[in-house]
């Protein structure tokens, strides 16, 4: 208690953040109860208390859907591929940018790489459609001119996931590299000087000094990515998919959007949300334990 009083000003500083998390992140957790009720969204708070308990009905409805395994598989594949290609990409970009000596060039490259982050998915989806439409699409028409084949990229299962992953990497690579660049800026320059005296080239310095020095950030970012494994990019997919590619593109979130939100089955949507949260927690916990066992810094 004495310590709290002694450091009270630090606690005052933390208070707004704590209140924010309490109000917007912890109190709403009570709402997860509607996953076990049959609630009408229009009954407001009264419905929250009065609606009948239905046990695991909505969870059973989700798991008994003929598309349950499909949407789980699609979510994991799309998310996994995004991590596989999208996670190392900003690290590589940061390493490359770190090697650029001319500051003006470095800043221009950084600015260009950050720009896609500020373009909304609605606009990005419009750009992708304009590029890939079979009638008038810039890329499609160019390919057609050279090969004579008119490929329906957005309606083809073989290409669709590739389009999702590529556009995801393009949109996130620059912005995600910021944190790695920040971590690199805190590396002691004497380490590089010593390595240079010992005859290390730039690749060796990047491999033996830069990467190990930012490893703690990489591990933390990776753990956070694992926690988001079931977030495969709802907005991006919703704006680009169609029945032609449901088989590879329908993820948990798009399924819930159609079945839960548009059909006003909020309890069902909440049940799937809770299901996702539990899986995400298990994944995060496991990955964190693994990181700790391997001697890396974990989230806790």
């Amino acid at each position: 208690m004495k310590k709290i009083w002694k450091y009270r000003f630090y606690y005052y500083l933390a208070l707004p953040g704590l209140i924010y998390f309490a109000i917007f992140h912890y109190v709403p957790m009570g709402g997860a109860l509607i996953a076990f009720k049959d609630i009408s969204p229009f009954d407001g708070l009264r419905g929250f208390f009065d609606a009948p308990w239905v046990g695991f009905k909505h969870f059973e409805r989700f798991t008994s859907s003929v598309y349950f395994l499909d949407v789980i598989e699609n979510t994991l594949i799309i998310s996994g591929l995004k991590i596989l290609f999208g996670f190392p990409a900003p690290i590589i970009l940061a390493l490359l940018l770190n090697e650029v000596l001319r500051m003006s060039l470095k800043r221009i490259m950084q600015t260009i790489s950050y720009l896609p982050h500020f373009i909304s998915w609605v606009v990005t989806a419009g750009m992708i459609t304009a590029l890939l439409a079979t009638s008038g699409g810039l890329l499609t028409e160019t390919i057609n001119d050279f090969t004579g084949s008119n490929i329906n990229f957005l309606g083809n299962k073989d290409y669709f996931v590739g389009i999702l992953v590529t556009s995801h990497v393009w949109k996130t690579i620059g912005w995600s590299s910021i944190i790695y660049l920040a971590a690199m800026s805190s590396i002691d320059p004497s380490l590089y000087e010593s390595a240079r005296i010992d005859g290390a080239n730039r690749l060796q310095m990047a491999w033996h000094i830069t990467l190990p020095s930012i490893m703690f950030v990489i591990v933390i970012m990776f753990l956070l990515e694992i926690g988001n494994l079931l977030e495969a990019g709802f907005e991006q997919i919703l704006l680009l998919y169609s029945p032609s590619v449901y088989k590879v593109a329908d993820i948990i979130d798009t399924f819930v959007y159609r079945e839960g939100l548009l059909a006003l089955k909020y309890s069902f949507a909440a049940a799937v949300g809770l299901f996702k949260a539990v899986i995400a927690f298990v994944l995060l916990y496991t990955a964190n334990r693994l990181a700790n066992r391997l001697g890396q810094t974990g989230l806790w």
Partner: protein
Amino acid sequence: MKKLISTIFLSLVVSLFTTSLKADGHDFTIFNNSGMLQFDGGGSDPEVLAKVTAHVKKLSGVTPKVIVPNMQDTTEQLNLLLAGSNPPDLFQANWDVYKSTLMPLNDLLAKHGDALLRSIPETSWKYMTDSDGNIMGIPRTAATSPYMTWVRQDILDQAGLEVPKTVEELTAYMAAAQKINPDFKAGTRAWSGNKWEEPAMGFAAAFTGAMSGNAAFIDPSDGRVKPVPLAPGIEDYLRFMNDWHNKGYWYPDNWSKFDESEVFRTCNMAMWSGWYSRVTIIVPKVESNCPGMKYVRAPIMGSKGWMATTRASGTQAYVINKKAKNPEAIMQYLNWMWNDQSVEGYATGVNGIEGDHWSYESKGMPAIVNTKDKAETKYVGDFGLPNFPYEGNMQPNDSLWATHFNYLGSGLTKLDDSHQPIDLYMAWDKGRIADETPTLGDVHRMIAENFTAFYTGERSIDEYDDFLAELDDAGMQDWINAMTAQMQESWAN
């Protein structure tokens, strides 16, 4: 000291509360999800809007406040608003889906709705009435034939053909069009999730016969209501679609992301089969780039009758929230908006202040009005609530819109060259169907996904029986039971 702080705090809260009430002195709120603001999501200039609001108050006697839709999916936004602490008082919705949140309008209509009762066709009111006789909404539309096939007169002239009347002649037209220009293709809307009314009531109907709003038919063998995958002739339809796909007549984008406006802009759309306004609204805007391009309506006859199906006015309605504090003001407003003697209310809601933003070219019913560009007036029609066929009473003196408004009063209501569906005068309770068919979403997805695969040849039509077995596994029988039960109840009543 404590008392002083408490007093100051309470005074602050009270003054904030009263200030907000004073600043926001409206009688009711409208969530304008009618489509009026579909392309003007930012709403009007606040100063102009304030002037129009005062003008509306002067003319109608009430002050509405408009909530402008700002989410891509207005249904989702409506649901979120209704679940919130300040739900809108007036909005557009299918009353059968939102029934639990709505107020019956019988008394309000009797007291304040004389003009709008006269304005709206009697048949449309039938769809607004539940089994207990409660009128649950103001009809948004009337029976129409919106899923028409259109071909191009300029292509017909070049090919020396007449407007096609049969499926075979339509195929010959497409073959001739592609001989003239290989880029000429056909556009339509695909089956998509639960939005499959258009293909079912359009192209498919020529092969399967009339479909209802649930894309269903009555099977004469057992009298049950069944969905279109079970309709006799459906395999012929799928083979036809696949044949056209193989011949390269369809735009491949029809089955993925199809930006209709952009495709019309290329001047290569030789045939359009789908929602009429693509032709009546988009074409006038792009035809200056396409010399000679002229679309004509082509009612097509197939083996099972017309290719188009009459669309029942359905349950789409303007509805009043049961929590609305001032429902009489709302009805007063609607009675002014759709008055049978004058378009003053409607023209004001859509265009703004008479004199400043629009003027009469000729008064009467219909009236012809001169309008200014919305970018110039900075009023985008926040208070406007479109209502078919009432909106045909206000015809803009504008060549870009003339085609559309002329069509509203002629081709759209021409029902003698389309099928009459089984549910033309029946309001389905789609919410109940969804409740009684827990896996309806799976069934919808399966149909959309597999029909697309049949079109493109990704799945062979020889596997159609397997597909039906998969539908059964997904819960199609529950759907049939739910629809049949409602149809039988409707007949019993």
